[in-house]
Symmetry: C2
Subunit: 414 residues, 2 copies
């Protein structure tokens, strides 16, 4: 008698800002047999993954590797390594995940200073630079793509200003990496944190990061080798300098990812297989081609939603190409619509957080989920379901509008 | 042109203390399509996994769930949640992973006090209890199965003593859970941390934990709800109380694992599928039957090694049933033997750390790797390879000796 049934998850069309569907090639990679963590075949895969991550992040940084945890483990690894208690950290906030950066920084012992702008917009880079000059932080941490509002912050001018002032700039690119350009070196970003379960279309559970020599120099001041594996003659540092986490200590993680392979955790074998395959898919497609694909399907989705008569939330000039926020019509129960989409059509779209809860739906078009059939099925289902929940929409127009975009093909953006 | 080749890891026989081979059913589970994190089908799988973990840990604790990270993320989650800066933490050390507990506790701001015993032995429980009464710690953290030396610490008397003194006892059962008895409730263990990649035979990347109401009460004094999702009327606590990690904050993790489902990280979908399937396999086999299987194969391995004339390391009375430590014969290059076993036979055995590096091999018999064909192939390969590296062994006796044990069947231990 089996008390727990065989696993058999229902097939889903996942149009949320993550976790999204994964390519069957990634699923297959996850299922390959184990290698030991110091097996030369496995360390070769680790090295290849580092090289692929450099290409993904568009960087020549030495350090580019995944942290073994979900996206916020990568954010916390970078912040807890760089923040010494009492450091002043500036977090410009334009949505929920800005609050998360501030929250993590506070727990690392930072004096956190924030500036905020209206949700649905982003900062003019000048505002951030003025705040830097006024508040004189030691570090700046900012979100690139804020999925809670669907907005994307331009970073190039902020990166230049930070470099001129010799300030470290930490960027949360969890929701943008692999879907839209993230130019680590060209934009002078000192540390960038990505996520797997969004535009990379790999299951949640790893956080790819990269950081440059400036970051490494700051980290190394705090480096500590564990008791039990300390070499002879090792001199202990002042304990107040120690990085507060062992699990997320980047100075130890980078030793583990270096040819030295100093033992730390046991690398997550199956997830590493999956990440490597996800990165191969990204690089085979080509970064520019992948970004263009995300823009094409976004345009088709937006055209369909507009034809239906739905209103988009937020400032279009800073819209994330991979998340489209739709205002829930005033007489409609947004959660009831979501539930019916899932139960009857197997389609998942997202709600949002805090002040936007019940106000908007968020439709993600990320990675493997971002394909023509999903866009058309999503629009068709929404068009069918909305009138059942009291929405008055224009019937019969959405699919045609989307198909017009597809017929035009992957025309470059204006 | 493909720059990165198709993934095709060579088949391996993994006889290390982890990561070990995984059952094909677990591999298949990893490859199933994604569900959204709040999809009712997925939250049902989360709830089932909690129930299975309670059975695994032999507890009626409310809280039993995986932390999304490798084993030490679970250790750190428990320690960073329970240790307030300045707390005195006692760590009895009998190998490398005791040092790790001390290391993590120090970084959490604890005043760490340690007692040590010779590697290859464990503590008489009375020594630990004396140390408790002498050093008056706020918490005790101890390793159950110390893979660096292959020894296992009896915990029942220590658990009873801690409960009598109203002290919290934290147990690292990373290497023992699912392979030998870990009696959370019967032994009065307050928090227990397991690993996936050892006796559970699930890939590395999750750390199942459980803790009781006494632990929860201490954690809740420090609970903080993130900005961005705080309810109206929320009153902020003194920041000096905050748990230092957001990612590993158990008060937030338990909200995420409760019916409330308050958003924290995005649960690692594929790994959760794999853990659930690994736990199903454990429970289908039966815990007692599984422990007996581990003992049987250990006996066969030990008989074979003895017949070959090899010497075991350490005190047999506290040997871990799932790790067998073998002294490297004095004229033999232990790493050369390991390399040939891997290169020519596809068999991996382990070396050890610190003072035991180059002194012993460690042969793991864990989970799916712990089966008759692996034991016999491992013995045959070792017998073939050792003479090539200058070891003088008794030839032709090991397999017969192991087969005698198998012929006797799963006879209970004396």
């Amino acid at each position: 008698m089996k008390r727990y049934k065989d696993l058999s998850p229902s097939p889903r069309i996942i149009l949320t800002p993550g976790p999204v569907e994964v390519d069957p090639r990634v699923s297959r990679a996850l299922s390959y047999p184990m290698l030991g963590q110091f097996d030369p075949e496995f360390t070769a895969l680790m090295n290849e993954t580092m090289q692929m991550l450099r290409e993904l992040f568009r960087t020549s940084n030495r350090w580019a590797f995944p942290v073994d945890g979900t996206s916020r483990s990568g954010l916390e690894a970078v912040l807890t390594g760089l923040i010494e208690p009492g450091d002043r950290v500036l977090v410009p906030i334009f949505g929920r995940f800005g609050y998360l950066l501030a929250e993590i920084a506070e727990r690392c012992g930072a004096e956190v200073v924030t500036i905020e702008t209206e949700w649905g917009t982003v900062f003019d880079p000048g505002e951030v630079i003025d705040a830097i000059d006024r508040l004189k932080p030691d570090l700046i941490a900012i979100v690139h793509g804020e999925t809670s509002t669907g907005r994307m912050q331009p970073l190039e001018a902020i990166g230049r200003a930070c470099r001129e002032r010799e300030l470290l700039l930490i960027v949360d690119a969890v929701a943008t990496i692999g879907g839209v350009p993230v130019e680590t070196d060209a934009w002078q970003l000192d540390a960038v944190i990505g996520g797997t379960q969004k535009c990379l279309s790999v299951p949640s559970g790893m956080s790819p990061i990269t950081y440059n020599d400036r970051v490494e120099a700051k980290l190394m001041r705090r480096k500590r080798i564990e008791k039990g594996i300390q070499p002879d003659g090792y001199i202990e540092k002042d304990p107040s300098l120690f990085i507060r986490s062992n699990y997320l200590d980047l100075t130890q993680l980078q030793d583990y990812w270096s040819p030295q392979r100093l033992n730390h955790h046991t690398e997550a074998t199956a997830m590493l297989y999956g990440l490597r395959e996800g990165l191969r898919l990204v690089l085979e497609e080509g970064l520019e081609e992948r970004f263009a694909r995300h823009r094409l399907h976004e345009r088709a989705l937006v055209a369909g939603l507009e034809a239906m008569g739905l209103t988009r939330y937020g400032d279009d000039s800073c819209k994330m190409p991979v998340v489209t926020c739709v205002c829930i019509p005033s007489n409609v129960d947004g959660e009831a619509v979501r539930s019916q989409l899932l139960a009857d059509f197997g389609i998942e779209i997202a709600s949002s957080f805090g002040p936007l809860k019940g106000q908007i739906w968020r439709i993600g078009t990320m990675g493997y989920s971002c394909r023509k059939s999903n866009i058309l099925l999503g629009l068709a289902a929404l068009e069918a379901v909305l009138p059942l929940h009291g929405a008055s929409i224009v019937p019969g127009a959405a699919i045609s509008a989307a198909l017009v975009i597809y017929a035009e093909g992957a025309k470059p953006d204006a």
